[in-house]
Symmetry: C2
Subunit: 346 residues, 2 copies
DNA sequence: TTGTATGCGTTATCAT
DNA sequence: ATGATAACGCATACAA
């Protein structure tokens, strides 16, 4: 039925153009050592035959391929996707494909890493928000597979991060400066073993802030659970039903803060009057809901992470092994109870 | 510096195990025609050497590789990501890698498609929410690259979709049955040339519903713009500032409905009393906000789409070329103004 | 500037 | 059951 047309190879092109395969190869790889005339003849043949070089053969011959692997946890999280988008865009611009490996457990992480420790699987690997062991890193190094980290760090490996602890402190200080003393925290529980370092660091930042003001930290106001709005709402319900409920809540992410807002509404608790709420990330939803937050450049983190991988491929040393992105407090209507807030939402 | 350890090949394993390369290959591919003893010796050597078969060489030899490409538009949209997650999960379970190609324009679509029309680039391609031309489809067929479509359709190609038009009708009928007559619509503008078919079909469904009730459709209540909450809010602002504003709004997606809710709040318009709002998709946010919506199985669409690709790879005929997923009306507090809504939010 | 020949690491065919 | 060897399609060192 389907005439599985025989693949056109570099050989066919060479024959049609009346040249050797090496010349065709040179044309493909824009090697300057080809006369303009020959180049044109070859290009014509390529066009006529509808020839596509085989990435497989090319990769095999060169000992590496043009695919970059990206390891991501929980791909449905908006923050992860925003980063991923940046990665894909940069890689694509440089002609690299992006293979996405989703990891939900430590076993899955190790299985994928094991597979990717091979220049024939991917020329380089970008890891987003997943902790690596020193052993993994070593093996990548010895195997000559490049590595670039986003939102996670490892000794000697290029990584781009934000200072989550300072961000947490920033958020809490904002709440304290507003007169709030009982500050609840809703963050991620470490169920998977993939950590959730950022959530933990942000909590540390909260404690830093309380310490700075010599305030005691009521540990019973800290609730951890699975990441998600629904879970966060339930955790917040618990907090709001306490005898002495918090007067402010710092959620480890905007997604969780959305759950907090829903919980407050269900309890008919006025925000920010009775409860101030601040999130983290600066997702679009925060801007829409007037949610105060600590904004981090997610997309940019992807861009930077990918660029740092490309630098290594080019043989350039990565100038700054540790690249720290800025954080910015966005004070909106869930903490500041003023006027004309529809305007300041940007 | 870095001792770029020489790659261990099938040859090294053969030598160490004292067998031929063919035998090693058989072991790798779990070919039964190997004696248990030899198998063990080979496996031991593989383990000892830390050998990984080269996917490149394997692919070249077999004339195809184990990477599936996925074409996605606007990867940051939650609906797209949910689908993508399903695809990745299924492919991974079957040992296939997933290369993600993001497309934002027609040129980019064609460039990627052109590249992927090659069994050496990907053994199969899954396309999400992007329209294809008949020409593209033909070329895939003649090149022997398998194709599976999600949220888009093409003659003779396996695809999984929902009935957007019926869904739109469902949403509108719900609003009409609630006594609303002036129904606004906020949907996607076709800026990119990638269509946005679903948004358009949902609008058609709205008109169907109006026709069913012999209601006139006020075209001035239809506003199209870039997909996103912020844009939707602005469009809704226009609608609410009309002399005769709508009494209900159907947003083509939950993301846009969120913008509508924000706009209503900014205008101090009560929902659902003065304005009923319904979205589409059934994202987590809809459940949190109590947003009425038409829920579609996004994750499942990815799962199904990937499965249908795998069926083709297995040489099985896809039994159902067109697979239609169900839609479900979730009536929540943005259309129904009753009691105890915090409970019905599921 | 251009062509020839070898190697990249597998798989598969054919012997044995 | 196992081994030798020819593809697979390209890049590149070397020769011309």
């Amino acid at each position: 039925m389907v005439t599985e047309r025989q693949r056109v190879s570099i050989f066919d092109v060479a024959k049609m153009a009346g040249v050797g395969v090496a010349t065709v190869s040179r044309v493909i790889n824009s090697n300057p050592r080809v006369s303009p005339l020959t180049r044109m003849r070859v290009e014509a043949a390529i066009e006529a035959l509808g020839y596509h070089p085989s990435r497989l053969a090319s990769g095999l011959s060169k000992g590496r391929q043009d695919m970059v692997a990206v390891l991501v946890p929980f791909i449905t999280r908006p923050s992860v996707v925003a980063r991923l988008e940046g990665v894909i865009e940069v890689l694509d611009r440089d002609g690299f494909g992006t293979a996405v490996y989703s990891v939900r457990s430590l076993e899955q992480r190790d299985r994928h890493l094991d597979y990717l420790m091979d220049r024939h699987a991917a020329i380089g690997v970008v890891v987003i928000s997943i902790p690596l062991t020193q052993l993994h890193v070593e093996r990548f190094r010895t195997n000559g597979v490049y590595l670039s980290l986003i939102d996670t760090a490892s000794e000697g490996v290029p990584h781009v991060v934000v200072d989550d602890r300072t961000g947490g402190c920033l958020a809490a200080t904002h709440l304290i400066s507003l007169g709030r003393r009982r500050i609840g925290f809703i963050g991620d529980e470490d169920l998977t073993g993939l950590g959730f370092a950022s959530s933990y660091k942000r909590l540390c930042g909260l404690e830093d802030a309380l310490n700075n003001y010599h305030l005691e930290h009521d540990r019973s106001l800290v609730r951890l659970g699975r990441h998600g709005s629904l879970e966060a709402r339930q955790l917040c319900d618990q907090l709001l039903e306490l005898d002495r409920p918090p007067t402010a809540i710092f959620a480890a992410s905007d997604t969780q803060a959305v759950g907090v807002l829903a919980s407050a509404e269900a309890h008919a608790i006025r925000v920010p009057d009775d409860l101030a709420v601040i999130g983290f990330d600066g997702l679009e939803i925060s801007s829409i809901l007037g949610l105060s937050t600590i904004e981090q450049p997610l997309y940019e983190s992807g861009v930077e992470g990918a660029k740092r991988l490309l630098q290594q491929l080019d043989g350039r040393e990565v100038e700054q092994v540790k690249h720290v992105l800025r954080l910015e407090l966005k004070a909106r209507s869930t903490t500041i109870s003023t006027h004309a807030l529809s305007k300041s939402g940007a």
